[in-house]
Subunit: 120 residues, 2 copies
């Protein structure tokens, strides 16, 4: 069974995660056949490994991880690959793939430009 | 003259800013009549005040600041208002407005969901 993890940075302020919760709601409304979980690098739960564990427990066998970050800096170039490799070591029968950061996507960037234009 | 500042967090790794540079390119291609500058909270230049100073020097009188953040945590709730207030104090004849974070926009969130769906 396919699943997706939306992987964000995390923050001390719990209100920071509100857009991430909305992403999950949107996903479930539009892609109900694909399990979804959030995961966070730091300061929020669940961790990437906890999210993978949860999805595997629900029957997921093929999990795509989408980094919900704008830029690809140290977190995605250094920290994330280590976490991903740890998960692959722990779940050797599960396919774990990762996309580039959402900020690499031209449609995401265009939506940001359009949002700015509406603010003028 | 209207202008926009795309305000991001900043990071140590210079490659992190690549999507922000693409946002500027998209903006200039699509909204050539509205000046645009990037600004960063930390670890990258220019600062918000430096970006405002630059735009005012180019004739901007009405500047909208768009926080290119997903969530509204401590950076946007605590740090950003102080920076904005400082700029308003320094540039009292300039209109400085701020939008919510781009992660509050449903079209931005939808673009992220669509990006994830294409990854499956």
């Amino acid at each position: 069974m396919k699943a997706i993890i939306l992987f964000g940075h995390g923050a001390r302020d719990s209100r920071w995660r509100e857009p991430f919760d909305r992403l999950v709601d949107l996903w479930r409304a539009q892609h109900s056949g694909v399990l979804v979980e959030l995961a966070f690098l730091e300061m929020m739960q669940p961790s990437l490994e906890e999210a993978v564990t949860s999805l595997v427990g629900k029957g997921a066998t093929d999990i795509a991880i989408v980094p919900v970050f704008f830029g690809q800096g140290g977190h995605l170039r250094n920290d994330f690959p280590v976490l991903l490799q740890n998960c692959r070591g722990k779940f050797q029968n599960i396919s774990l793939s990762a996309t580039p950061a959402v900020g690499e996507d031209s449609a995401v960037l265009q939506a940001i430009v359009d949002f700015g234009a509406r603010a003028l």
